[in-house]
Symmetry: D2
């Protein structure tokens, strides 16, 4: 951390900060420039973060030097994390497709969707039993009934299940049925939920919050890792910007950025990022080319009957065509 | 709702949509222009929202006409809602200041802060017992111990307590101590928490999410109102933008916008919006002039010792000076 | 400037950077922490900015310490700049209202608007002769004919004229008629135009770009100041965000921020920021309370006939009512 | 266009709007719903855009149905535009790489860069003679001298030259040397420059503005097309968002979006979008996979000596490695 003092600061004010650093067990390194005095702080970052330097009027700004996350960083662990779910591998030279409907609606719908998904080459099946909806007047999901239907789909197809934990009180329930516990964008900074998931032994799929920087997203992963659960899969799903042609703006740059900053696998969800069906296939290929470890897409046997997000769901035909392209390009790139 | 059909749509495709509308119990009104055919939909909006028109390839876009919230709208209730908390009034020609430290740290700190707040004219006291922190390595709050200290502050000063419900599992606990239950920005779309709060009889202070439009914010309020709790206070606290000079960007326009769209009272939190102490007093005055029903600010007896947000907390002297200005200007404007 | 080296950097790589600094005439100050080595750079900032430190693989990041502008900063000039235009003062304890139609349409319209403006207490008159329009099919302004009509309005009312220089090739022409040369939001980073304006002796009203930070805005002002023209008036007019309830998001916090960072006067344009007539009066009062030196608003004798921005223009009655409120509150605050 | 009337509107107010429509030569189609009356407007859109419906108090909102651009739309021209520059083709099943340094610095630098570019497979050469710089203290380009050096590079390598027209007054000069005239992000809404370029016979590379929606970008293209120049190449270069890990946020979704909305070719510039060298190769591949017609990247023979943007420039080795990957993947995808 570097502390920049205001212009015209007195020796006494500098001394006060140095004193404070020493009391906290930190070392100070003073550089006096023509216009500013700068204090380099050396020592344990956890200590540094406790001290409210910025509350001192003599301090102009405080510049962090270290990344604020540790366990999630490449520096902490240089080899890539590979997450395994019932024999399916995410990360480590694979490209994994997760597919399924936005929400679980009926046994017929969910089993049919899972069969289409498996046949076309998807390795995990997604579906929501609890749905976060902007409007209280929209369909809110089938709840436990929906989880049971997902279990049926797994029995039929063998595909492991990814489903969202919407409310921390449902953890035990969702844990019972899910193979991967999904944290939705709106819960990315639900820190108590993250802590609970850090205590579980099942993988967590952590969606990026709509207003979260890559750094904040990795800090959210850090909450889970810190409690002992290392099986975190990051999922880019678009950020909120002024562009209205798509629901959110897919931040494709976050994929190679994450690959540099972290050892965790990262996948992309173009369905939620854009809200537009036709954009999903080209963006899946873009994710693959950019180095993502997989994609998650919405597909519905009959999108017109979908109770949720019908306009962004791929049709079975569209999904199969896309899977053909993905499989060929992944093969060309030497990914499994 | 208006459905815009793609160019070159066939009569049969138009008929299919009209048929679908009739089956849903809705009426269709067709306008054939030179370049586009547009179908006006007439009928119950709750029905309209169930149908995934956009999933039909012949549909180019669907344009909502009605606002998606009802109970929160001015059309539903034209007179302003006034929320009463132990004799304190929010809304209806008053300007209410809520003040206190970011987090509860000790009995001495909290009681001293509450005394300063009351003496200077604040009418409610705020303080966090559970703190949402971006980093798992930051101070996370005192928990129930903190709630007890807030109770002590109330005993000493009579000021009602505003405190955040961070985890829905703590509702009973927080309810016991709080006079106003605060929903933080990160929980604005925690729909299950909103529903629970809709079943309570205490007022809810609903902060705007960092990536929420005014419309989405009112939809979140709708979740609470729909369950029967009409005592909702909206709190503008800045949105996420590219500007880095302040932590978030205070959207002051949301205040007069809300006044036109809704009957709910709206206050402003410039401390969290900016993260910069010196900006708090001018922005409180701006909120007052723009028509807000109050402000919520952070103040700490000794900001340098604050365990949280010290750099944005007002000092007691700064707070008193600001309260003088607020009181004079509120008086000039004829507010109580 | 502080240079943060990558972890695991070698002594030789550090030495290479130090060498480079010395060659450039700069001094290096090395702090070796447990995880990172940090080099403080001391010396002339203009020199520092020439060297592409970040192009060195051993450099993790470069952190600027000094503000990148000088002449625009409070540190360079502590007393507030007051801009004078034909006897009207902007800055220095005044609150100046600039009003007029979006575009000049006819002699009748412009003279009538100017009379209404003067009668209600506006001190400058605005109107566009050259209009930047998103669509090539929209009205583009009357050009020189419009400038002549503005001159007529000045003859009739004595109000000095603020008008936009849209194309640098029209500088001489616009200079002939205008009292204040306006740089529109889209030209804030038209650096060659800024340089030309820096060589003029008339005041420049510099609107903030829609995607410009406060720092970038002050850098744009620096371009004008550097060429010798110190009469710069800053104008906040909203930034581009995800919120769609208003055309842009008025960043009211920029007003007190600018007051801290710079000596230049700053005014607010709520008409363009919001695009909504009803929001203009409360936001003008908010600007006044936040410490702005004035406001610029759109007003049209008959908004329904406006060829541009009719929906955000105040009616004469609305304008007069608002001016009453502004005058009273400015008087209460002791402003002239 | 659809006009939504306010609730409680009178028959007379509806009649007034209908009258106005008729006077303008437009047809009205009235739908009376339970809560709102909606008027569908049928007729020439250019006429519709002239009328300030929103200025009428009885009008709640005006919803455009048609896209506001015509000549740039797929509906107007269904086959893809192919732009040809001295034998090089952009669009129409090709993937074109444009490479070169940010700014022209010396004959040696520019000729060397052009040779590296050609050898590795780039088909156009880029370099800036006039540089838009945020700070007036940064290097501003060599001007005409720089254009002459670009000419030298073309003589040496045969690569056509892409260079920016920064100031409309330099059009003749830049036209003399350039093969493709580039409009920078900051000039995307410099409408007078766009009109001038619309009258030229050389291709225009139109960068997306940092705060421009895809629609506004296509409207900017419309300005050029309307004047008769159909050779427009769109270039996505990132938009301004809250994410600070990259300079801007590359909006990769704009590529397939443009492909659906327009017939114009679109390329991607990941160097300016991110400002980070290591992110350029994966994002070039992502652009290719997403369907872009090419990329434009910064490459410098010796990035450490670059006077501009050294940290985002590829080294010759990095560039060659990337070109190998691009060529292989383009071949796999059947592109030339």
């Amino acid at each position: 951390m570097v502390i920049v003092m205001r212009p015209g600061v007195t020796e006494q004010e500098i001394e006060e900060i140095v004193q404070l650093l020493h009391e906290t067990g930190l070392e100070a390194h003073i550089s006096r420039g023509e216009f500013r005095t700068v204090i380099g702080v050396i020592g344990d970052d956890e200590l540094v973060m406790q001290v409210p330097f910025q509350a001192y009027p003599a301090v102009e700004k405080v510049v962090p030097i270290m990344k604020p996350y540790k366990l999630a960083s490449r520096e902490f662990q240089s080899e890539a994390t590979v997450v395994r779910v019932n024999g399916v591998q995410i990360g480590g030279g694979t490209f994994t497709v997760i597919a399924g409907p936005c929400s679980v609606e009926s046994e017929e719908q969910v089993v049919e969707a899972a069969r289409i998904a498996r046949r076309a080459g998807a390795r995990l099946f997604r579906g929501g039993a609890f749905k976060p909806r902007t409007s209280p007047y929209s369909f809110q999901g089938l709840g436990e009934e929906g989880l049971k239907l997902l279990e049926r789909a797994r029995e039929e197809t063998g595909l492991p299940i990814v489903t969202e934990l919407l409310d921390v009180r449902d953890l035990e329930l969702v844990y019972r049925y899910a193979d991967v516990l999904q944290v939705g964008a709106r819960n990315m900074q639900n820190f108590l939920m993250l802590k609970e998931l850090g205590g579980q032994d099942k993988p967590v799929l952590l969606k990026r919050g709509m207003s979260a920087t890559v750094e904040e997203w990795l800090m959210a992963a850090e909450y889970i890792l810190k409690e002992g659960n290392g099986k975190v899969i990051l999922c880019e799903r678009g950020i909120k910007t002024f562009e209205t042609g798509t629901r959110n703006t897919l931040d494709i740059s976050s994929v190679p950025q994450i690959k540099g900053l972290s050892h965790l696998p990262v996948i992309v969800d173009p369905s939620h990022a854009t809200g537009v069906r036709d954009l999903v296939p080209p963006l899946c290929l873009a994710a693959l080319a950019a180095g993502a470890d997989g994609v998650m897409v919405e597909m519905h046997p009959r999108p017109r009957e979908a109770l949720c997000d019908g306009s962004q769901s791929l049709t079975p035909e569209g999904f199969e065509a896309m899977m053909g392209e993905i499989t060929r390009m992944a093969g060309f790139l030497g990914l499994k």
